[in-house]
């Protein structure tokens, strides 16, 4: 394998890992409290919702990779797929909160929505940390889905076209590099996060540094598998 290709694989895998970490921090994760309407965000764990979105993106990216070998188009297709998944989930969750539980979407971390300037505190139930998916959280979730989907699709493209893995192996490989990055982000978040306006978002650099190291190691393993071991069918 040419050194240029090796470096390209490493760079794409590392960028993909960093985007995965960034995406996980941008997603509004409410966890178990959100399932009781006690916290704002999506009512599941960081890794779980991130994986759900990225798997949808990966499916689309793998379909598009059979039509074109343009890196930007494959990566963007994956990103858009993940964004659509997360946007539909957030909108439908809001419908469920409103009609099934009678809860108004409200942020628990900011008194005023930074985007729409709507007041939040008067609408919040006491002894809760907000509920539902207000607009600023929705926008952050969209950006998180886009970032995560882009990262997953970039890794898939690198494994498929530069490391010359088969589509199935490239899919499993991309997911396997993605999962540890999402888990690192989940450890860094420690519970719930609303998105870029949440004070916990400031912890992002720690997660990015760890993701960089982990992704670099994964990238080296991919390069070894593709060159020294003679490729993976």
């Amino acid at each position: 394998m040419e050194p240029t290709l090796m470096i390209l694989i490493l760079v794409l895998v590392v960028i993909g890992g960093l985007l995965a970490s960034l995406g996980a921090h941008l997603l509004p994760v409410g966890g178990a409290p959100a399932a009781m309407g006690t916290a704002t965000g999506i009512a599941t764990g960081t890794v779980q919702i991130m994986l759900g979105a990225v798997m949808t993106g990966l499916f689309t990216a793998s379909s598009v990779a059979t039509l074109t070998n343009n890196l930007a188009l494959v990566a963007l297709s994956g990103a858009i797929g993940a964004t659509i998944m997360i946007s539909v989930v957030m909108l439908m969750a809001n419908i469920l909160y409103a009609f099934g539980c009678g809860v108004v979407p409200v942020s628990g971390r900011v008194p005023v929505d930074p985007i729409t300037k709507e007041p939040q505190t008067p609408y919040k139930t006491p002894q809760t940390d907000g509920h539902g998916v207000p607009n600023v959280v929705f926008v952050s979730g969209m950006l998180g889905g886009f970032s995560g989907g882009l990262g997953g699709a970039l890794m898939y493209y690198a494994l498929l076209n530069y490391a010359h893995f088969s589509p199935n192996t490239a899919g499993i490989g991309a997911m396997s590099i993605f999962v540890p990055n999402a888990i690192i982000a989940a450890y860094n978040i420690r519970g719930t996060i609303e998105g870029f306006h949440d004070p916990k978002f400031k912890r992002l650099p720690f997660s990015l540094a760890t993701s960089f190291v982990v992704s670099l190691l994964c990238g080296i393993v991919v390069v070894i598998a593709a060159s020294v071991l003679g490729g993976v069918a």
Binding site: G37, A43, M55, L67, S87, M92, F99, E118, T128, M142
Partner: protein, 327 residues
Amino acid sequence: MGLIVVLLFAWMLVIAFLAFVACTFEDLESDIGSQSNPNSQVQLAAQVGQVHRFFNKAISGEPLSNALYCATAGTITWMLLQKLEPFVPDAPWKAAVLAIPVGVLGAAMVHLIFSTTAHCGRTVAQKRFEQPLYLDVLYGHLLPIATHGYMTTFCITTIAYIQSNLGTLSGNPALNHPFALPMLGFIWGITVGSIGSSTGDVHYGTEREFQDRPFGEGKRVIYHGKITRYAECGIRTQRDIAGFCAKFGGPVTGMTFGLIILFENWRNMVGMVLAGFLPDLPAFTPTGDMTAVISIVAGLLIIAALALGNLTFVRWVRKRCGPFVGE
């Protein structure tokens, strides 16, 4: 419009419908077994002195457990297809009629084993809080869990079969998805669990588990663990909960997954039709690039519509409900 376009469109609608059914049953299955996030309250109940008759099945997060069932079903189905398809070379789909239900049955067995060990293990671990292990609760819930799980896994495996053979079923094998059937089962298993966990469980966790608390407010921390233990008649078990959640939470969750599958496939179809990719499939040419560009633009339009929809909906619901008026 050629026959291949009509067939692709028809299969797309079949897949979207199957996705709707799959996710509806996935949500109801998680409600019956009390899996995923609202399980924390069932777990907490005994610890705050609320002895209950709920089924306590926290095998793992829903995406991972569903991925396990769907990948198991997909693998068994794929192996059976390899063996059965040579018997019916003219109509290989006939092999799927047998292979898919048998494969899903294998996954249902795995599901039942995990449900039993998870419930028994979790409940006996709460002996110090005097939480009994009711055998009638254990036996009575296993069949609904297995049947609901069977429906989910069956629909996902069928979706995976259709997608991995989409081209063959529509007339051009080059359109088959590059991923193998078990891999597609794994992907959609993760996604269906992720959606069921993040959307449908809210109806169970926020409303049904706390039905004796005020409607129209988030559940305060002070209520946590104090779940509603009495049903309309007698003591509540999760068999009462499935009927309640099937009226709203389940279908909304199903619609979420159905819409995602519909949007994803529809925008790719639009790209293929508008760029002139069908029926010759000139891959890795400017036409292929144009197909991807159009599908990306269509995706951006869908995202913009969803964001606008959320903006309008949040504004409407805030105006309709008004600020919080309780104590």
